[in-house]
Structures are given as C-alpha cells and as structure tokens.
Amino acid sequence: MRPFTFERARSPADAAASAARHPGARFIAGGTNLLDLMKLQIETPLHLIDINALALDRIEATADGGLRIGALVRNTDLAAHEGVRRDYGVLSRALLAGATGTLRNKATTAGNLLQRTRCPYFYDTNMPCNKREPGSGCSALDGVSRGLAVVGSSEACIATHPSDMAVAMRALDATVETIKPDGATRAVPIAEFHRLPGDTPHIETALEPGELITAVALPPPTGGTQVYRKVRDRASYAFALVSVAAIVRRDGTGRVALGGVAHKPWRVEAAEAELPRGAKPVAERLLADARPTRDNAFKLPLVERTLAAVLAEARG
C-alpha cells in the first residue's frame, strides 16, 4: 500500500470535483475490494475520497413506480429490502449468492458494480496483465483459465466480471445514475455501463474520470418468476463458474443474463426470443460467438444445463 492522502467528501458534487482535481484518486465506500487491491499494489491511488458520509444510502420509490437504490446502500440491506424481495426477487437472490454475510454488510451497491475481476493473474504483480499494466500481455490466455471468460473476450483479456448483483441488474434493465465533476448528471443503461475488454481491458466501465455513481434505478416491476442460480465449486463464498439471472413469465417469455462467462454481465436480447423453446436454443444464441479456452470450455454446456435448471425451477 502506497502512502495516500484521504478526505471525507461532503456531497456527491464535492466528491466528483475533488476526484477531478486529484488524478488517480479513488472513491472508497465499503472498501471490500479496493483495500485488497491496494495492499497488493494493484491499485495505487494517491488520494482516497471517502464517500461513506454522503446521503446515498436510501432506497426510494421512483415516480414511474420503480426503485432508486442509493450508491451506498449495503448489499445486506438491499437484499433484505421488502420491495426488492417482493418485486425484484432476482436481485435479492443474486445478492445473497455473493460473498459472505460480513462482506455484504460492508459492500455497497455502487462498489459491487465496480469490483474488479478475480482473474488470478490480475492479482499477481509479477505476471503480465493487460488490465493491470496495459500492453504487458495476458498471462491467462495460455495459463490457468478455468474460471475465466468464454464469450466477449479478446486477445488482450479473458477476465470475467465477478459480480452477482450486476447480473440481476442487467436482467432487470437497471440504470446507473452518476454525477460528473462539473456537476452534470446522467443515467447510463446498465447494458452500456460495463465494457467488453477489446484492446483496452483496463477501461472497464463507461464512467469518465471523476464521475461518481449516485444511485441505481430499477424500472417498474416486470413480474414473472425470478430466479438466480449460481454454480460454483463450493457451496458458499465462491465466485460463479456460471450464473443465470432469469425472469420468466407465465407464457414462457422472459429475460436471461449470465454471470461468470464474460467481462460484463452477459445478455443477448435476441436470444430471449428462444426462451419458449427451451434452454438449448437460448444458450446457443447467448454463446454464439464463444471462444473458450481448453480449461473453460466446460462452461458452454454448463450454461445450457444451468439455464435448463432455471427454466425448470421457474416453471415449477
């Protein structure tokens, strides 16, 4: 951990403005990922802006009948929120499938979206990694890649996004609300929020320098049976090999997003048209451009089988 300066922000606008004044600054909320990365010197911010005191910890109804989730709402609180449990069950289930109780007590909504890959090579500073050190190469491509991406990856990076929550939010068509250093606000659809690696895997989101997430908005409840199924080697406290967030309506139509397979929550709207015909055609469309490694090719049949399990569960 390098020495750094530290401030407590007084308002979201202040926080964003301060970030713009301090190149390389990082916002800190729960710190459940950032502190680990700083200890390993994967992140070396010179300035930390503590946003925990900002009034971004509320869950409110929106005018259109949806929910606005403050950036600082803790994962535990979000999962337990009555409205979330009633109307957005896939989100509650995804949150509870992630990490552990103690981590969820600290981890925030915005921080969850911004957590970084768990690719083991990203975490070892002796190893080339284009995400950590642009241009240095990708060790995972010819290394150990069992947990890594099968679709949407590039020659530069096969990392996955580790979040469960974000996969559910992708299925729910959430919107990420932000404030920029100049005070301007905007709303970014979650589909556009996370990026594919391409040849710039170090750029992971649509956020501009200094831009701060203030909330995540959920559209009005969509109904349907909502399922989140996380497949992993151990029963708890493990990242997904594959996960499926699904919303299935009575007529068999619905939405599906995948975790554990790509650099971002993976959803192909066109694939959802196949839902009434079962898991196989949906999986084929979702993974049409898959480029797995030898280590992780099993994820392709696993996606199909997990999807089949989810559809069976949704249809009771």
Binding site: M1, R2, P3, K39, L40, Q41, R118, P120, Y121, Y123, D124, T125, N126, M127, S139, D142, G143, V144, R146, V231, R232, D233, R234, A235, S236, Y237, A238, F239, L241, F298, P301, L302, R305, T306, A308, A309, A312
Partner: protein, 739 residues
Amino acid sequence: MKFDTPATTNPIDQLKVVGRPADRIDGKFKTTGTAPYAHERHDVAADQAYGFVLGSGIAKGRIRAMHLDAAKAAPGVLAIVTTLDMPRLKRGTMNVAFLFGGDEIQHYHQAIAVVVARTFEQARAAAYLIRVDYAPEPGRYDLAAEAPNAPPVGGDSGEGSGAPPEDRVGDFEGAFAAAPVRLDERYATADESHAMMEPHATIAAWDGDRLTLWTSNQMIAWGKGSIAKILGIPARNVRLDSPYVGGGFGGKLFIRADAVLAALGAKAAGQPVKVALTRPLIANNTTHRPATLQRIRIGADRDGTITAVAHESTSGNLPDGDPETAVSQTKLLYAGANRLTAMRLAVLDLPEGNAMRAPGEAPGMMALEVAMDEMAERLGLDPIAFRVLNDTQVDPENPDRRFSQRALADCLRLGAERFGWAGRDPRPGAVRDGRWLVGMGVAAGFRNNLLMKSAARVRLDGMGRVTVETDMTDIGTGSYTILAQTAAEMMGVELDKVVVRLGDSDFPASAGSGGQWGANTSASGVYAACVKLREAVAQRLGFNSADAVFTDGEVRAGNRVATLAEAAGAGELVGEDAIEFGDLGDRYQQSTFAGHFVEVGVDSFTAEVRVRRMLAVCAAGRILNPKTARSQVIGAMTMAVGSALMEKLEVDKRRGFFVNHDLAGYEVPVHADIPHQEVIFLDETDPISSPMKAKGVGELGICGVGGAVANAVYNATGVRVRDYPITLDKLLARMPEAI
C-alpha cells in the same frame, strides 16, 4: 522410561480423568481472543519492528542485481537484507528448498529480501520499491510431461509412511495375468496447500549472540536444531517459543522463511523484528502436498480373493526432495500373495513438496479406495464385503508380523449399520431426490501409528498443584487438555489442579505434533515423568512407592495418608523423564483403522457435488479425550472433502508457479459444504502402543474419506472420476439426463 513390553494395568486405566470428554483448557482463551499467536506477542520484546518478505518474481534462474535505493529511502525503513548479501545458507534438517542467500532462484516466491520498517505498511510499501533484474532459465513444471523420465526413488515421509523404489512379494505379473477378474486404472491427485488460518509468523530478538524466536511451529526441537544450522550458530544459543499454533497440518513442521528472515532482519536492524508470511507466499514460498500420478492393478479370483495387487506412484519435487509415499498403505492394507509397489520421482522446479496431513496415505488412500470400489463392482460384490474378505490380521509382506490391533472389519460393519448402508442401491444413478442424484460411498481408513521419544517434566508445588512442562505443541489438537488429563490421572488430582506449559524449547523435548503421533507419545512422556514424580513424592513422605496410591489429592500407603500439598510443603518436587520405545513397533505392525461413509447429492443439471452426511467409525486404541479426538476427526473429514471436491493448487506450466495463491482462489470447504458429521470410536485399548494404550486419530480421519466421497459420486451418477478433485467439469459430459 523404556517401553519395550506390552503395557499392563497402570494408573491411567482408572479412567477418572483420561478418556473423559473434558473441554479444551485453552478453549476459552482461543474463543475470547486471549491466546496470543506468534505475530500478536507484543509483550515479549520491546521495540518490535516489522519485516516484510519479498518473494522471487520468477520460478527459476538467477538474480543479476537488486536496486534498493528507493526502498532504503522510503519512510520508516530501518534495514534491508537481501539474498545477495550472503552466500546461500545451509538448509534445515528436514527441507530441500534453500530458504535464503545467494543469487540462484529455485522456485517462485523464494524469499529474496526482507525489508524492516517501523510499521508493517511501511515495510510492505518499501518492499514493492525494490527492483530486481532476473536472468530467468527454463524450468520443469509439468509432472505429466516429466513422469516418463522419472527414475525409481524410494522414500520416507518422516511421518510414518515409506517405501523403497520397488518392492515385490511373489510374482505380481504372473498372478495378475492369471487372475480372472482384473483392474488396471490410473489416478491423479492434485498439489494441495495446507492453507492453515494462522500464517507462518515469527518474532525474533537477539541478546548478544543468543537468539529467541517467538514463532508458530509444530516441532520445537527440530526447529531449534534447524535454525541453528541455517544461521550457523550453536543450538544452545537458540530458544523457540510456540505456545499456540493456529493450524499447521504439516506446513509448520519446519523452520521456514519467516523465522530465518525475522532473525536476519533483527540482526540487521539491531532490534526485535516480527515477520508473517503473506497469504500469497504460503502457497509458493513454503511447502505443499505434491501431486501424484498413480497406477493401481488388482487381480482377484471370482470369489473376490485378491491374488495380485500393484500400486505405483509418480510425484515430483525439487532436487534432493522426497517422493510422496502414496503406495505405502498398499503394503499393509489388504491381503494378497503377489504384491508390487513402486515409486518414481521427477525433478520439478516448483516449490518444495513435503508433508501435509497424512503424507503418503492421504493421496494413496484416495486412489486405492476408489480402485477397491471399482474392483468390488467388477466382482459383483458389496464393497464392504470385498474389503472384509481381503482383511488381514498380519502384515501381508511379512506374515509372521501381526498387527497389534486391527479392527477394520468391525469399523466397516458397525458403520454400515449406523449409516444405513443396507438401504443403498448399488446401481449407479438409481436414486433421485428432486433435482439431486443421491449416492453413498464407503472406504477403509488406514494410517500407521508412530512411536517417537518424548520427554516431559512435572512439578508439584506446596499448593498441591501439578505443572507439566514439555516442548510439545498444541496446534489446535487438544494437547494442553490431554496432557493435563494424563497428569491429573497419574497424580490423583482434579483437572483444575494441573497447569500445562507447552512449546518452549527450554522445556524437555517432546515428540512434537506430526504424523498423528503427538497425543499418544507426548502423553506417554508425561506418564513417564509422573512415574518419576510419584516416586519422588513417596520418597519424600517415606512411603513405599510401590504401594502408594494417588487419589483425590492424597497419597495413601498402608494406613498412612498425606496430601500432595504436604508432600511438597518442604519444597517443590520434580519428576522428569522421557518415554522411549523399544522394538514393539518392529515386532508388531501398529496402525489405526476406520470405516468412512459418505452420502452425496449431485445436481442433475449442473453436476455440483454436495456432501449430505458423513460418518467415521475409528479404531485407534484408547481415546484420551472423546471431545478433542472427535474434533480432530471431523476436521480431517472436512479436509478430505476439500481434497476430493475442490482443493487444487493450479500449476502454471509455462511460468512455473501455483497460480491460485490466496484463499479466494484456493478453495477449502466452508460451513455450507459440511453437513452432519458423525464420529464413533470403537472401545479399544492397545497395550502394544504405549502405557497410554492409545494411538493417533488426527490423520486417520483424513485417510480414505476422499475415496468414500468419490465412490459416493459414482454411486450417485455412474460417472467414475479418477482425476481429483472431482469438480463439476469432470462430470458434466457424462452425466445422466437431467430431470
């Protein structure tokens, strides 16, 4: 005390204290955070500085140069010691990797510098400022690729399993070829990490040329000798103190880089230095259980009688390293007239392979007990019946040599009854519970019983209080408690009248904690010391020591009675002795046995394996404390679930290191993975083993369990996986139709 004839009746047989499920006397300290572990011993030396160990960034080659200017100028830095500052240091007695000194890199994350600073954060930040110029060399990292050229090598785990390069009885090839039912399969086990909770950690302080290490170590006497050898100082100038150890599993049998670099850092800084290895260093800087490639062949008559058995294993290690002795148990476990065991050892440039909980047997039983299950199926026999049919009461290689006790068949039969084995459907994939495919598996458990010299000192004071002093360690096993129980039984006092002090090299040298010998041998050492103390008490009182009865805090002989407090009233009485074992271990084969039963559910869609219930029935001599023994066994069962289902150090075969070097990447079972566990101990005493008539259980609990898990997965799914751990990717393609 020399133990060279079977034990007769002695005071331990009263079982007033021994054999009772006493709570751990250190339990309240551990659960309240008041048992200080090595890195937390803030009060043992003033002005403790922090050392941070820098590991090599390459797996093989040389260091051309190290650039220290920036690190030296960093805030708070007190001293930097690099591997280029000194020639390569000698190795400790039990290790093959060199821990420090010189420019040669043998393996990834080999220690190459320690930075000492006022705070941990300063030391770590400065260490990252060191730039290193490497001259990398190609290395050998792929066991499967090196195996064909691996020469035959014998070896001994140092923990009770061993085998020559090749060992033959009868004519294996002829008998195997003639056998009407044959099995010839290959199995692979993974590199595994001890992954104990407390990392390797040491505080070092010099007083002139005398060195004290407050550390976390299983084997104090080994450690004292090794650190002296490594640093080139007389052993008499070294003191080790390790009263609490937060898990070891064999990873802390040895002096490792934390101790060496704390000592070197403290010398350079001129003040005490504490060093803990970071989690990433534990996988690649310390030791691990080596991967194995095994081949098992079994030939049998149609009635199930084994006529030929062969077990071969190949593992890898650094030059001068030992093989993983995975064939050892196959020499003893089942009958059969024609036998072959063989081991090969490839040179690999990965970190050092060495002992981890039941070295040899743990991976060897994993393969052997699956092979037995496969063979039973080919014979159309129940796997328990097949094992019982081939049970033996004598060493199959030396039929004149009997087992001191061998209740394997009883363990299997009782376990079958308690587990509901009769309700198992032997047809694979036949039982469903919703989306789950359900299966049951069984395996034998087997682990040798080791006998090691162990000394202790016992003091009696004027308050009638008994104090036990031995350098024995408690690595979470219950040593404090069983040694207190032993002393209480021998001296005829309540448990709360006994104080146990452990882990200090100034105390008499014990057997230490390894090879599941700790409980039996260290308790026997305390027994021997108590015999001496009883004599001293009787002599002080003028009693005939042969008649003296020690009970209820009193000593009685004839019509005379005195309290222990009175006996020591005129001054403390001390008994000190060691238990030394004669040739009973050669004349009799001493082993421990278990029947392991596991039920699993396998998700019919995703092939996720989840254990549903487990049972171990153990025959391991007298159980000194059923509560601590049970804890040992359930911990071992849990570890075995890890090795069967998830634990694997992933080798990067190009760069030569274990990639998943933290607890996020190296998954061990969590609570959600471990369901109902039951442990039954057969009521047994083994007078051949020691005056305690006890044996070990801490490793018995892991041996065979993984095989039972694998056999249960097969029973559930019909998919036989022989490459462990059984992760879902190995099942998916062959899974039955989901429902």
